[in-house]
Amino acid sequence: MEIFEVIQPGVYTTVQDSGRFSYQQFGVPVCGVVDSFAYRVANTLVGNFQGQAVLEATIFGPTLKVLNQGFIAVTGGNLSPLINNNPLPMWKSIAIHTDDILQFKGVKSGCRAYIAVAGGIDVPLVMGSRSTYVAGKIGGMKGRPLSAGDRLNRGREIAKAEGHVPSELIPLYPDDREICVILGPQDDYFSKGIEKFFTSTFKVSTKADRMGYRLEGNSIIHRGGIEKSIISEPSVPGGIQVPPDGQPIILLVEQTVGGYTKIATVISSDIGKVGQAKPGDRIRFRQVDIGEAHKILKEEEEKIELITKSLSR
């Protein structure tokens, strides 16, 4: 069933789901949403099962005309969503009706908003996923971001949910944030650089997209007498590359291999926080060990469970 007509696409709006798995060995990155917490909560709020496709809007969101009635939820960064020119409450299930206009006025906090619709955004599965991979020209709307005139379908609603996220469980997206990392895999390529990495504040540059975030700040220097690059190896979302110029790059979801040293790796529950930073925002890093990382991940799961239980079905 048709659900939205794209009046204006916004600066970069794509269809994404939880990702495209088992093709990284062939050079196809996972893609999928950057902020998985906001994404999962959005799906939960409209009764979708985890893994259904949503829209990921970036900084300036799209203008969408509603073509049929349905339920939506908008989560993630606050890009000032409006419905028929009235503020649309975020983190809440909302009924929409034919000819409603959903639009976004501009970014208040964060960088990426998620628009889930009951039934999920329905585009063809490509290699097991609906996620858009623009460089590979696959997934989503013909392998590209939304463009004006696109008509989006939704799948069949499978369950009903209604409710909102308790305010204490709604994440904040401050301009200045601390990101938890685990050292490595190439922390042994650095000595004093590690201390500098953890005591510096970095600014998000304008070169920040779904592939990676280039940071600006103190140069992180490699240990003396060591190669500054490595034999190309697999990369993971969250890997923090330090190229020879010493300015770190946080990899997100669109790269499978690389030859730069990685001083540390963002823990998986903080990757969304990185993706909610916009150019000009500041980032500091805090070291955790793997036990702590897994504990934080478990707490995040518990939060999602709590939210799911609080909804009426």
């Binding site: 060995q25 050079g27 020209k137 190439q186 190896e233 697999p234 993971v236 291999v257 790796t265 991940l297």
Partner: protein, 231 residues
């Protein structure tokens, strides 16, 4: 080759396993064997595996698995690989139409190495190339085995658009562009074969750890093969 695998954490869902410190066919064969064993008999909680030159990345679900258990399992497998039966590596033939519009840098590669274009083609088609890994773009092979007599530096100014199928040389590497993309490799020819076809049930022609050879075709044969894709 290391005596035993070296383990490095790659975040809270990834374990990197290194088998050696260099680009070496023997080390890559070890990577291939461990990788095939993981495909054949997966370890519980492992969600995805990426093989590369000398290492493997194991993604795991932290709610079902942990790095310590994985390390033990990988060490056990590395020590008992002779118990497994692995299929011998496959060799794929890649037909290439060399020179002219398909290989605008063939002349340059020849001049740079004091060869004739004919000799470049002859040397390029006489090698067997190990597919060390795939990456950069979907299906792009990183190949080993280029003859030293063809080593040529990258273009000083990369092209904005290199068509998919273009065969190029960059320093000691040769490769095939799998999608239309910007690129700085010296282009010597083009294959009508698709390395990556997202609409096909088996979207990828090549697999890490296998081999490929280039064979020479005429422009007529190029168009014949290309038209088969369109039908």
């Amino acid at each position: 080759m290391y005596d035993k695998p070296r383990f490095l954490l790659a975040g809270d869902r990834g374990l990197l396993v290194e088998f050696g410190a260099s680009i070496d066919p023997e080390i890559n064969q070890k990577v291939r064997h461990i990788f095939l064993s993981l495909e054949k008999t997966p370890i519980d909680g492992v969600t995805e595996v990426i093989p590369t030159y000398r290492s493997i990345l194991i993604f795991y679900d932290p709610f079902q698995s942990d790095p310590e258990g994985l390390k033990k399992e990988i060490v056990d497998r590395a020590n008992s690989l002779d118990k497994w039966e692995f299929p011998p590596p496959k060799t794929t033939e890649i037909p290439v139409c060399y020179g002219d519009n398909f290989g605008p840098d063939l002349e340059f590669v020849a001049q740079h190495n004091n060869l004739t274009p004919e000799e470049v083609i002859q040397i390029h088609t006489s090698g067997t190339y190990l597919i060390y890994m795939l990456g950069f773009t979907p299906g792009f092979p990183f190949l080993g085995g280029l003859s030293e007599s063809l080593f040529t530096p990258r273009l000083e100014n990369p092209r904005q658009l290199v068509p998919a199928g273009s065969v190029g040389i960059a320093n000691n590497q040769t490769g095939i562009y799998s999608v239309d993309s910007p690129g700085g490799w010296q282009l010597i020819g083009k294959t009508p074969i698709k390395l990556y076809d997202p609409t096909s049930p088996s979207p990828f022609l090549l697999k890490a750890g296998n081999y490929l050879r280039f064979t020479r075709i005429s422009i007529k044969q190029f168009h014949e093969i290309a038209s088969r894709y369109r039908d």
